[in-house]
Structure formats: structure tokens, C-alpha cells
Amino acid sequence: EAAVTQSPRNKVTVTGGNVTLSCRQTNSHNYMYWYRQDTGHGLRLIHYSYGAGNLQIGDVPDGYKATRTTQEDFFLLLELASPSQTSLYFCASSVGNTLYFGEGSRLIVV
């Protein structure tokens, strides 16, 4: 089965800090997604990509950058972290109708 691995699993940073969340998938899936999950909001799409070098804007992109360096790797970048970005972040990959999620990265911005 395809694996999606996120790192770090937990991160605490200060306001204004620089954070990179990493996601790697092992099956060369075309699509990769970054979501944030907050209580009462379900999962909200930040950025997504359909291949190396491609980036598509999601529904809540403000304050986030992303880069798809290879077919396997998708990074989420917070260059000036704010407390409002405290959240649980999920990465997912998909091919066809099958979607695989990572275990999540919990970020706290103090």
C-alpha cells in the first residue's frame, strides 16, 4: 500500500518563525495536497500539485508557500508563522480515485 510520510509530526515555533513541513509519498502519485484541520472547519485545502514543479492554489493559501520538488516530495512553507496558523496539517497523495493521507503534523505557533 502507498505510504505518505509527514515530518515533523509535532512542531512548536514562535511568532515570525520559519517552518517547513515535509511530505513524501512512495508510489509516484501525480496529485499531492496540503490541508489544515481546525476544530469546526473540517479539512481546508491550502495548496496542491499535480506533478513535480507544479503548484495550484487551494482555498486558504494566505501565509503559505509550497513547493513540489520531485514526484515524491511536497513541502509546505510558513515563512512568518503566526498564531492563526496553529493547526493540524495533513498531506495526501492520490492517483485515480484512491487517496492516501499522512498521519498529520501538529504545529503550534506561540
Binding site: 495536497y33 473540517g42 485545502l45 496542491y48 487551494g58 482555498d59 499522512g102 498521519e103
Partner: protein, 109 residues
């Protein structure tokens, strides 16, 4: 943008009762999936159901694309079914996958 509305927001059942979860979505250029998230955990895909009726185990999903709605029926609920259920729509034009806010299901013994 795409809208996905789920109801009810929460549901409490006694073990053995059936659950009915609803999902309404704004676009027909979509494929619909149901996901499950265990408390504090990641998400897993339950059913891919762009149209018609699909079954897996105790789960039945019915999607009526023209009416932009889908349902997930859980029969004979068990305490291990507790968690959050999401529907999500995949837009075939943009590749965007949009989730609803979920239904929190609690099954009591």
C-alpha cells in the same frame, strides 16, 4: 468555489442503531468520496461513490449527482464506528479535492 455541506454536525447512537449521514455539494463536475477519521488520527477512504449506490460491509452510500447529494448509511453501529465522517468532492476540471466539515459520530455501548 466548491461547497460541501454535511449534516448532521454530530450524531449520538446506541450500539446496534443505524446511522444516516448526508452530504450536499454545489457542483456536478465532481466525484464524491466518503472518509473516516478516528479520534486524534488520520483519514482513511471508506467509499468512492460518484453516482448510484455502493456497498462495503455495513456501509452503504447513495449518490444522486443531478440532485447534488449523497448519503452514507451505517447499519448496526458499533462503538468502534465512533469518529468523524467526511464527504469530499473531487473536481474533475481543477483536480481540487474539497471536504465538508464532517459529522462526528458517537456510538455508546
Amino acid at each position: 468555489g466548491q461547497q460541501v455541506q454535511q449534516s448532521p454536525a454530530s450524531l449520538v447512537l446506541q450500539e446496534g442503531e443505524n446511522a444516516e449521514l448526508q452530504c450536499n455539494f454545489s457542483s456536478t463536475a465532481t466525484r464524491l468520496q466518503w472518509f473516516y477519521q478516528r479520534p486524534g488520527g488520520s483519514l482513511v477512504s471508506l467509499l468512492y461513490n460518484p453516482s448510484g449506490t455502493k456497498h462495503t460491509g455495513r456501509l452503504t452510500s447513495t449518490t444522486v449527482t443531478k440532485e447534488r447529494r449523497s448519503s452514507l448509511h451505517i447499519s448496526s453501529s458499533q462503538t468502534t464506528d465512533s469518529g468523524t465522517y467526511f464527504c469530499a468532492i473531487y473536481n474533475t476540471n481543477t483536480g481540487k479535492l474539497t471536504f465538508g466539515d464532517g459529522t462526528v459520530l458517537t456510538v455508546k455501548p
